[in-house]
Amino acid sequence: MGRIMTVTQTLLSVQNVTKAFPLPHGLIQRLRQVPPQAVHALNGVSLDVMRGETLGIVGESGCGKSTLARCLVRLHECDTGRVVFGDTDIASLNGPARRAFNAKVQMIFQDPYSSLNPRMKVRQILTEALSVHQMRPSAEIPARIAELLDLVRLPQDAAEKYPHEFSGGQRQRIGIARALSVEPEVLVADELVSALDVSVQAQVVNLLLQLQEQLHLTVVFVAHDLRLVRHISHRVAVMYLGKVVEIGPTEALFSAPRHPYTQALLAAAPELDPTRRTRRVAAKGELPSPVNLPQGCLFNTRCPQAFERCFKERPVLSAEGAHLSACHLPG
């Protein structure tokens, strides 16, 4: 029952972003003239987030999906490339303009235990967000808090409690309420439910879907769980070693994956149907180190179909309609 989007308008545009985290370069390395090294987290990522859609970003650990999420809300600055919101480069924003951007593009964090200040009551957490951003005159703040708690289906007495008095799922609801308090257009959810029990995950996912309809939110859903990403995303981007290797409409990407890595990832995800199990290993080998990236295509060390060109030339995303894949293989 996916909502039909009549207007597709780019809201947030990631343009060729790179980000590397330098490794400690100690005296001994300097004396031995070892060049400084870095973890290459993002290696030229480009994608657009459309207004009103849910864009899923999926990949294994070290693929750069969390770094990308943090670049979107400017918790990280990009090394090169840019993130454009509306028509401004977010790196150029300062002072009140930056704060306004922060309100428009909000993030929800993975860890329900560390993402809330343990010394603040829920009321204080929400009041702070509302008053710093002057969302409401102070007289109306209590009513707004009540509204927000309703919105995320928490009881009213939650306001006077501290984070440790809640379960993991409830804490994630508090995190969502905090993000929604500043009335954002975009929610960036980084592994929103991966720390929760399965039965609780479903509650939070249902809530997110409902809030998105109700508030016309644009959602960037970063996760490693393919099933979840498939369930809630309109479009999905698959990342590998800091690159988007494939991006396209959810249905197309899952039913006809084009990139060999996407194919391997989908095959590796255990089927929920016990009658359809296979004993074939989906992808051999391990992830190469993000410190020393392979030449050419980043997946060439594990790709069963790699040929000469893959070791020389790094493929770029090429389109077939709305479904893009970065692979030298024909078709």
Binding site: M1, D197, L209, A264, A268, A269, L272, P274
Partner: protein, 330 residues
């Protein structure tokens, strides 16, 4: 029928002192057949990991384990400590979720494998070296000779889990207890490890008890499954049967909580509330506060496992209504 490999009956594990003790595992019984992979599934606090550790008597102080764990005619729970040590890491091996912490960081891998070989085999030093190489090959670590001299931190997460398995297999165990062995791993690596476990099961004719919270892992690897909730087994049976027709309201909710293709962006069949903690188990059926089928009987009386079809059991007063309600996967 072949003979049962491991028979657990009325296993109960409590923590703490009398009076304030909490029950983590509450009177559970199950069998593991030779060569079978049994999945113990549940959410946090369900007692699945405690069950596994109780079998091996790997429990912290101030805990008590009662019941019977029959392994080849002997009760592991009544066995004297020296004899148990021979079984542990010998006929029964265990692997853990976090290979990083389960391996000794200051010893090369070779030493850690040899240690187990020395404890559980009569091999000579030279033979132990040879066997170590074989084990590394067996678990799919190439360049074994060089890798054996390395320390755990020189291995990636997936490789460390392979090393753990190699150590566990050193004594050619007949039963492998695996506690969330792939939870810390990436999808493609999880896939490799699960299939490795299945291959080893075939090759070494051992049984496996696999503890996991991931229903996908169960569907892809296990022959039979037991669903645990609040310290009890609420449903058990052949994997295909349980996935095909859950008989317990909790199993139905759990299966419905996992998104599946064809239902994109529609609400998931979720379960309200959260799993109960050890301290506040509800009376009656522990699931009743979260159950849409619950009646007064569920709130006062604790249901016991009843045979539903052959080999398929559920502890639910309303399995007929649960079945009639259908579920996302049917």
């Amino acid at each position: 029928m072949t003979e049962v490999a491991l028979q657990v009956s009325n296993l109960t594990t409590t923590f703490g002192h009398q009076g304030t003790a909490v029950t983590a595992v509450d009177d559970i019984s199950f069998d593991v057949m030779p060569g079978e992979v049994l999945g113990l599934v549940g959410e946090s606090g369900s007692g699945k990991s405690v069950t596994l550790r109780s079998i091996m008597r790997l429990m912290p102080q101030h805990s008590s384990v009662t019941g019977r764990v029959l392994w080849q005619g002997r009760d592991l729970l009544a066995m004297p400590e020296p004899e148990l040590r021979k079984v542990r890491g010998g006929e029964i091996s265990m692997i853990f979720q976090e290979p990083t912490t389960a391996l000794n960081p200051v010893l090369p891998v070779a030493v850690q494998i040899e240690e187990n070989l020395r404890a559980h085999t009569t091999l000579s030093k030279a033979d132990r070296g040879k066997r170590s190489l074989e084990l590394m090959d067996l678990v799919g670590i190439s360049d074994a000779k060089r890798r054996l001299t390395q320390y755990p931190h020189q291995f990636s997460g997936g490789m460390r889990q392979r090393v753990m398995i190699a150590i566990a297999l050193a004594s050619t165990p007949k039963l492998l207890l695996a506690d969330e062995p792939t939870t810390a791993l990436d999808l493609t690596i999880q896939d490799q490890i699960l299939k490795l476990i299945l291959d080893l099961r075939d090759e070494l004719k051992m049984s496996v008890v696999l503890v996991t919270h991931d229903l996908g892992v169960v569907a892809a690897t296990c022959d039979r499954m037991a669903v645990m909730y609040a310290g009890r087994i609420v449903e058990s049976g052949p994997v295909a049967d349980v996935f095909g027709q859950p008989n317990h309201a909790y199993t139905r909710g759990l299966l419905g909580s996992v998104p599946r293709s064809g239902t994109e962006r529609s609400p998931l069949l979720s379960i309200e509330g959260t799993p109960p903690g050890l301290m506040n188990r509800p009376t009656g059926c522990a699931f009743n506060p979260r159950c849409e089928f619950a009646t007064d009987r569920c709130r006062s009386e604790n249901p016991v496992l009843q045979a539903m079809a052959h080999g398929h059991e559920a502890a639910c007063f309303h399995s007929d209504r649960v079945k009639a309600a259908g579920w996302a996967g049917s």
